[in-house]
Each structure stands twice: as structure tokens, then as C-alpha cells.
Symmetry: C2
Subunit: 123 residues, 2 copies
């Protein structure tokens, strides 16, 4: 998860829903891994997350929205996979767009913070 | 901390700094309380936070920026108070402005999320 970008300031967006629910980059990253791997457990493994934890996050998302975000596909012996629904695809694309908009909108303020941050936070 | 606004979707902004430092609404709320109360311990109490925890957050902020955010004022028997520096005032005002900009920029997306969230998350 380390990248050169870690040496810059990064705005992090989360959306607070009623009743302590949250939507943020952790859930979005999980959706991306489910889309790539076709499996909740493989997606969880890719994020060093237990199957139980990954399943709970998916369950949260499916509960938070009118339409399901991830659907299970019953398969053969391996227990089937999982895939994003069309709504899940749209949610993911929209959240990533929101993150880009925030970064763009705050560009000047982030530059101000960067100019004022302590040099001692560099290695 | 409960308010009618909790039944709506609220974008939460945090800024990730290098080396795990974060700037978000918790630190900003602490600054507001310090400005109001003139005391780190009173500000902490207003947020149900130990003096140690409040002091550490202030110490983090003072370390994160080139200029101090809060300055201690040595006083009499009570041990003196604390106040925001001009930079601290500017930082606080700017962060609150950034939050308003995010809310404004994401208004359409927040309305989309609101329209698609599950009715069962209402009480």
C-alpha cells in the first residue's frame, strides 16, 4: 500500500449515513477487488481482511441502499462467486468521481496546507 | 452531539499527511473549544476527552505545521491558559471553508446517494 503519493497531502472523503453507517474508501476498495476477483473472500484476502469482515462490509452496503450493491452467484463446489450489480458499479464509479472532485476543488487549500506544513514531517 | 442533521448524509473530510498524521474535524473542534475556553483542559472536557488526549492532539498539530497552532500562556496559580495563534485561526477558518466547499461541490452526488439509500435506515 506504500506509494510515493504518501509524501503528499491527500484528502480523504467519507460519507456519514444515519445510524453510524459510513461509506468510504475501504468499502470502495473492497468493491473494486470483488469486481476484479469475482469473490468476496478473494477480495478480502487482497486487503488483508478476514472473510467475515469482508462479508460484513458487503452486508452493510447491501443494507444501506435501496438496491443491492453486490450479488452472490451460487456456483458449484467452490460455493460460487460474487459480482457487483449495475447499481454497485454506478456507486463505485460515482464515489471515485466524488473523490476526484474533492481533490480538484480543494487544490488551492491543499497547496496552502502543503506550503505551511512542517519540514520535519519529511524523512 | 446529536442533531437533526444526523438523519441526512454528511460528507466528512480528513486530510492525510505524511507519516500517518491526519487533520480532521476532531482536531478542528478541539481548536474551536480552545478558542472559546482559553484552555486545553476545558476544551478537552467539552469533548469528553482526557487532558492527556487533548494535549497530544494539540502537540500533533504544533508538530505538523511550520508555525504553532496553539500557544500556551503561562499565568498564575491556575497554570495559565492556551490560545490559538494567528496561524491556528487561519487554519481553522480554512478547514471549515474546505468542508463547506466539499458539501457544495458534492451536493448533486449527495442527493443521488440520498435518493438511493435504503428506507430501512430511517427509524
Amino acid at each position: 500500500m506504500k506509494s510515493p503519493a504518501e509524501d503528499t497531502l491527500i484528502p480523504i472523503l467519507r460519507i456519514s449515513f444515519p445510524h453510524e453507517d459510513r461509506l468510504g474508501r475501504g468499502k470502495m476498495e473492497l468493491l473494486e477487488h470483488i469486481r476484479e476477483t469475482g469473490s468476496i473472500s478473494a477480495a478480502g484476502r487482497a486487503m488483508d481482511m478476514s472473510y467475515r469482515r469482508a462479508w460484513l462490509l458487503v452486508s452493510d452496503m447491501n443494507r444501506m441502499f435501496r438496491d443491492p450493491v453486490v450479488e452472490s452467484q451460487r456456483g458449484g463446489q467452490k460455493g460460487g462467486g460474487a459480482a457487483l450489480t449495475p447499481f454497485g458499479d454506478e456507486l463505485l464509479a460515482r464515489f471515485r468521481k466524488m473523490e476526484r472532485m474533492v481533490k480538484f476543488t480543494l487544490a488551492e487549500d491543499l497547496a496552502w496546507l502543503e506550503a505551511n506544513r512542517s519540514p520535519q514531517t519529511d524523512r
